[in-house]
C-alpha cells in the first residue's frame, strides 16, 4: 500500500500542474489539493461515479466522462482500472493521472473502513514556516508588527458524507499574534458546519463557504480553470455551494447557504454578511466634509504593517443570492441572481462599480449544458452594471482519434460583476472578445497531440494598454506515454499581446510583445520506491523594437521511499538563468500535504528543496521541508520590507497531522 504512495503523488502533481499553469501565482490551490487528498483517501468508485464527482477532479473532459458511462452501459462494469485505457477518448497519461483517485470497490473504501469510527473522522493539522534570512521588515526598525513565523492550524471533522465541520486559523509572517490588532490571536479565522444528503436537503452550510454557478460569469468564487494543455477541458464545473476550507483570506462568503433537491429541480439560496478588506482614500468634497472613498478590494490577506492593517475589515458587505437548476435528460438549464450590497457607513462611498448604482450590484444570469454523447455544449448569459457578458462553447469528438473544442466569448467593457471566474484571457470577464479553438489528436493510446489557438481583442483600453488591443495565444503539446511508468511531453507556446510602449515618447502607443516558450518534461518510475522527473524550459520574450529577453531552467526531481522506516523523500535541484521578469519561468513544487508551492524563477541561480514525510504511527504524520534560492550575482534579494541582505533565501516548514 505504501509503496505506491510516491507514484500516486507524482500523478497528482501532474494533475494539479496541468490545471493551474495558466493561472496566476496569487491563487490559493488549497481547495484543489484538499479535494485531491479527500479523493485519495476516499477514492471515487468508478463503476458508480456521478458526473459531478468525476468532473470535480478536473482531469476528465465531458466527452471522456460520457464515454466512460457509455462503456459501462454497453460493456458492463470495469473489472480492472487499466481497462479505462481501452475506452474511447481515454489515453494512457489521462489514466495515469486518474488512478490515485478512483477505485473498483463499490462500497466504502479501504482507508475509510480502516479508520472510520462510529463517531466519524477527526483531523488536526498544524504547520509553521519561516524565511530563515533576516528580512528588512523584521529588523528592529522594520515596519512589520510581528515576527517572521507563519502559523497555520486546522481542525476538521467528517461523519461519512453527511456532516462536516472545520476550523482554520492562520497568521501570516509579520502579522501581530495575540498583540496589537490581533488580541484574539490569529489574524485569520474561518469555520463552517455543513450537513449534506439528508432527504431533499442536498446541502446546508453555516459559516464560511463558496458559491459557484454556471460558467463563472455572474457568480463564482473558489477555484476554476481556464486555458490549459488539456484543450478539451474548457467548461467550468460549477459545484454550487461548498464549504470553505482554505486559508485564502478573500473571495469566500460568510453566512449560510442551502441547496434543496426536488426531483429534477435543484434550488440554492445563500446569504453572506461580512466585513471585507479594501483600500480607502480620504477626499474632501466641496462641503469640506471628509469622505472615504473605497477604491478597490484588497485580496492579498497580508496585514503586517500599519498601512496594511488600515485596510482590514473596512467595508461591510451583504450578499443574498439564489440559483435554480432544472435537469431534463441531457439538458440542464440554470438561473442565478444575486444582490451585492455595501451598506452606507458614515460617510463612506464605494466607487469601484464604474456604472450603475455606486454601492450595490445586482447580477442575473442564465446558463445551460447539453450533453449528447460525443458532443457537449455549454454557455452562460449574464447581466449586471447595465452590460452583458456571454460565453458559449462546444466540445465534440469528431472521430475516436480527434476531438475539438470551440469557445466564443463576448464581455462588454462595462460588465463588472464582482465575483467571477470565467474562461477569459484577462483575469476578469470584462472588455474582451475572443474565439478559442482546441484540437486533440490521439493516433493511439500512447500518443496525444493537443493544440489550442485563442484569438482575442480588448475593445477598450485596459491595464498597460491605453488603446484597444488584441492578441493571440497558441499552445501545442505532444504527450507520449510509452509504458505505465514513463510519461513525457514536449510543449511550445506562443503568446502575442499589445502593450504600451512605455518609452520616453510624448504619446504612449501600443507595441507588440511576443513570448515563445519551449518545454520538455519527462517522468519515470525506476522502481516502486524510486521515481524521477526532469524538465528543461526556455522562454524568449521579444518586445517590439527591443532585444530578445531569454530565460532558461532545468530541474531534476527525485522521489524515494526509504525502505523499512516509512519515510518518503522528495527533492529538487533546479538551475535557472532568466534575464528579466518578462522571461520569468514558473515551476510547481512538491510541498507538505495541503500546501502548494510555485516558484517564480528570475535572475541567475540555483533553487533546491528537500521534503520528508514520516508516518510515526498510524494516524500521526510529520512533514519537514527545506527550500532555498541561491543567486549568482546578487547582493540583495527582494525589495521594501521583504529585502534580504545577501544572496540566499531559504524557507523551512514543519507540519504535523493527527488523524483520530
Amino acid at each position: 500500500m505504501h509503496l505506491c504512495v510516491a507514484a500516486q503523488t507524482e500523478n497528482e502533481i501532474q494533475g494539479i500542474e496541468n490545471n493551474i499553469e495558466n493561472i496566476s501565482e496569487s491563487v490559493d490551490y488549497t481547495t484543489l489539493t484538499d479535494q485531491y487528498d479527500y479523493y485519495r483517501k476516499n477514492p471515487i468508485s468508478i463503476n458508480s461515479a456521478t458526473t459531478e464527482e468525476l468532473a470535480s477532479l478536473h482531469i476528465l473532459s465531458p466527452l471522456q466522462i460520457e464515454a466512460l458511462f457509455e462503456h459501462i452501459r454497453t460493456a458492463g462494469k470495469l473489472t480492472d482500472l487499466y481497462e479505462l485505457q481501452s475506452i474511447e477518448y481515454f489515453d494512457v497519461s489521462t489514466v495515469q493521472q486518474l488512478l490515485p483517485f478512483i477505485t473498483l470497490k463499490e462500497d466504502e473504501n479501504i482507508e475509510r473502513l480502516k479508520r472510520i469510527s462510529f463517531l466519524g473522522n477527526n483531523q488536526f493539522i498544524t504547520r509553521i514556516q519561516r524565511i530563515t534570512e533576516q528580512q528588512k521588515g523584521y529588523a528592529p526598525d522594520g515596519d512589520y508588527v510581528g515576527d517572521p513565523l507563519k502559523i497555520y492550524s486546522r481542525y476538521s471533522y467528517n461523519f461519512k458524507n453527511i456532516l462536516s465541520a472545520n476550523i482554520t486559523a492562520e497568521r501570516d509572517a509579520g502579522e501581530a499574534f495575540f498583540t496589537r490588532n490581533n488580541k484574539q490571536g490569529f489574524d485569520f479565522y474561518s469555520a463552517h458546519l455543513a450537513i449534506s444528503n439528508i432527504r431533499s436537503i442536498k446541502k446546508i452550510v453555516v459559516g464560511d463557504y463558496e458559491a459557484q454557478f454556471g460558467q463563472g460569469l455572474a457568480f463564482y468564487n473558489g477555484l476554476g480553470f481556464g486555458k490549459s494543455s488539456e484543450v478539451l477541458n474548457i467548461s467550468k464545473n460549477a459545484q454550487g455551494i461548498r464549504p470553505f476550507r482554505s486559508a485564502n483570506e478573500a473571495l469566500f462568503l460568510r453566512g449560510a447557504a442551502t441547496t434543496l433537491q426536488f426531483k429534477k429541480i435543484q434550488v440554492t439560496v445563500f446569504g453572506s454578511y461580512q466585513k471585507i478588506n479594501a483600500a480607502v482614500r480620504t477626499v474632501s468634497d466641496s462641503t469640506a466634509v471628509d469622505n472615504f472613498v473605497i477604491q478597490s478590494t484588497d485580496l492579498s490577506g497580508f496585514y503586517r504593517t500599519p498601512a496594511e492593517i488600515a485596510k482590514k475589515n473596512t467595508l461591510l458587505q451583504q450578499i443574498v443570492g439564489a440559483n435554480a437548476q432544472y435537469q431534463l435528460k441531457k439538458f440542464k438549464v440554470g438561473i442565478t441572481g444575486a444582490n451585492i450590497l455595501f451598506p452606507k457607513q458614515n460617510n463612506t462611498h464605494v466607487d469601484f462599480f464604474e456604472t450603475g448604482s455606486p454601492n450595490s450590484q445586482i447580477v442575473a444570469a442564465i446558463d445551460y449544458t447539453l450533453n449528447m454523447g460525443n458532443m457537449y455544449a455549454f454557455g452562460e448569459l449574464a447581466y449586471t452594471t447595465q452590460a452583458v457578458a456571454v460565453l458559449n462553447g462546444i466540445v465534440a469528438g469528431l472521430s475516436p482519434k480527434l476531438s475539438i473544442s470551440l469557445l466564443h466569448r463576448y464581455f462588454d467593457k462595462n460588465y463588472n460583476a464582482l465575483y467571477t471566474n470565467a474562461f477569459a484571457e484577462s483575469s476578469k470577464p470584462k472588455n474582451e472578445n475572443g474565439l478559442y479553438t482546441g484540437i486533440s489528436i490521439s493516433p493511439n493510446k500512447r500518443w496525444k497531440w493537443n493544440t489550442y489557438v485563442d484569438v482575442f481583442s480588448f475593445p477598450a483600453p485596459k491595464y498597460l494598454a491605453d488603446a484597444p488591443s488584441k492578441g493571440t495565444d497558441i499552445l501545442t503539446q505532444v504527450n507520449y506515454a510509452p509504458s505505465r511508468t514513463v510519461n513525457m511531453y514536449a510543449r511550445f507556446r506562443n503568446q502575442r499581446k499589445q502593450q504600451n510602449s512605455s518609452g520616453s515618447d510624448v504619446i504612449d502607443y501600443l507595441i507588440n510583445n511576443n513570448r515563445d516558450s519551449y518545454r520538455f518534461h519527462i517522468e519515470y518510475k525506476v522502481s516502486d520506491a524510486l521515481s524521477m522527473r526532469s524538465r528543461a524550459e526556455v522562454v524568449n520574450f521579444k518586445k517590439e523594437f527591443a532585444k530578445t529577453e531569454t530565460g532558461a531552467m532545468l530541474y531534476q526531481d527525485i522521489s524515494y521511499k526509504v525502505p523499512f522506516i516509512d519515510v518518503t523523500l522528495d527533492a529538487r535541484y533546479a538551475l535557472f538563468d532568466v534575464q528579466s521578469y518578462n522571461a520569468r519561468i514558473y515551476a510547481f513544487e512538491k510541498d507538505v500535504l495541503y500546501a502548494y508551492s510555485i516558484s517564480l524563477l528570475q535572475d541567475e541561480g540555483v533553487r533546491w528543496y528537500i521534503l520528508a514525510r514520516k508516518t510515526i504511527t498510524n494516524g500521526i504524520d510529520v512533514w519537514i521541508r527545506y527550500a532555498r534560492f541561491t543567486y549568482a550575482d546578487k547582493t540583495t534579494i527582494g525589495n521594501g520590507n521583504e529585502l534580504i541582505d545577501g544572496n540566499t533565501r531559504s524557507e523551512v516548514k514543519v507540519q504535523l497531522r493527527l488523524l483520530f
Binding site: L398, S399, L435, T437, I441, S457
Partner: protein, 267 residues
C-alpha cells in the same frame, strides 16, 4: 493605384500577396489553405500533383471580396479534363478594378505514378495600371505528393521558384514560396491538414485545417494561420451528387472578413 498603395502601406498588405494567397477555392480557403497535400480537382489551383487521380471533368467559378472592399475583389474560374492518366486544367483569375488590374491564366498538368504524384503549372501574369500601361510575365509552379499510408498523404510545392517579376514595378508576379504539408483522413467524415509555408519576405507560418462532413450534403470547415493570427471557416453543400456550392471566409484580426463563394460542377 494610389488607393492601393495607401492601403498597402496602411495594412502592410501587398495586393500581389493578396492574390497569391487567396486564389484558393472556397473549400481550400476555409481550410486556411493548408491544402498542399490534398488531392482533388481543386488542385488545379493548389498543388497540381493532386490532379493526378482525377477521373471526371470539372468546372468552377467563384468570387472573393477581400476585407469586404469591393475594389479588392477577385473573380476566378477553372476547368479540369482528364485524358487517361494525364490530367490537364486551365485556371484563370482577375483581381482589382478599372485602374489597377492583375490577371493570371495558368495551364496545369498532373499525373500519378502509384503512391507518388507530380504536377506543374505554367502561368501567364498580366498587370495593367491606368496611365502606366501594362506588362506580362511567365512563372511556373511545381509540386509533388506522396501517399505515405492509405490515410496519410504528404505534399510539397514550389511557387515561382525562378522569381519571375514585373520589371516595371519591380515586384514578383507571384511571391516565391515553399509549401510542405500533410493530410490525414481520420474517417469518411473527417480530414485534418497541417502545413508549413515559407514565403519570401515574410516569416515562416504554420497552417492548420479541419473538414468535417456532418451529413452527406454538408461539410463544416475551419482553419488557422499562425503568422497572421487569422481564423478561416466555411460550409460546403453537395447538391445533386455532381454540383457543389462552397462558402468561406477569412477572419483577419485587422482586415476582418474576406467572404468568398464558388460553384462547381463535375461531369
Amino acid at each position: 493605384m494610389q488607393k492601393h498603395i495607401v492601403l498597402s502601406l496602411f495594412l502592410g498588405y501587398s495586393p500581389l500577396c493578396a492574390i497569391a494567397q487567396t486564389t484558393f477555392y472556397a473549400r481550400n480557403s476555409a481550410l486556411a489553405g493548408a491544402t498542399v497535400a490534398l488531392a482533388d480537382v481543386r488542385s488545379v489551383n493548389d498543388n497540381q500533383a493532386g490532379l493526378g487521380l482525377t477521373t471526371k471533368k470539372w468546372i468552377t467559378a467563384g468570387y472573393i471580396t477581400h476585407a469586404l472592399l469591393p475594389e479588392l475583389s477577385t473573380q476566378y474560374g477553372a476547368f479540369v479534363i482528364p485524358l487517361k492518366n494525364n490530367v490537364f486544367g486551365v485556371d484563370i483569375n482577375a483581381y482589382g478594378n478599372g485602374i489597377y488590374k492583375l490577371q493570371r491564366i495558368g495551364l496545369a498538368y498532373g499525373r500519378s505514378f502509384g503512391p507518388i504524384s507530380f504536377g506543374f503549372r505554367v502561368n501567364y501574369h498580366q498587370i495593367s495600371i491606368t496611365e502606366y500601361g501594362s506588362e506580362g510575365t511567365v512563372s511556373i509552379n511545381m509540386g509533388a505528393q506522396f501517399k505515405l499510408t492509405p490515410k496519410t498523404t504528404i505534399g510539397s510545392q514550389l511557387i515561382n521558384p525562378t522569381g519571375a517579376a514585373f520589371s516595371s514595378i519591380a515586384e514578383s508576379a507571384q511571391a516565391q514560396q515553399i509549401r510542405l504539408g500533410v493530410a490525414h483522413t481520420f474517417s469518411d467524415k473527417l480530414i485534418a491538414l497541417v502545413e508549413v509555408d515559407k514565403t519570401a519576405g515574410t516569416d515562416l507560418t504554420v497552417l492548420g485545417g479541419l473538414e468535417y462532413r456532418i451529413i452527406k450534403l454538408l461539410a463544416l470547415r475551419g482553419g488557422f494561420d499562425v503568422n497572421t493570427g487569422s481564423y478561416y471557416g466555411g460550409l460546403g453543400f453537395s447538391l445533386l451528387k455532381s454540383a457543389t456550392i462552397d462558402f468561406a471566409t477569412r477572419v483577419h484580426p485587422v482586415l476582418g472578413l474576406s467572404p468568398q463563394i464558388d460553384l462547381a460542377y463535375e461531369f
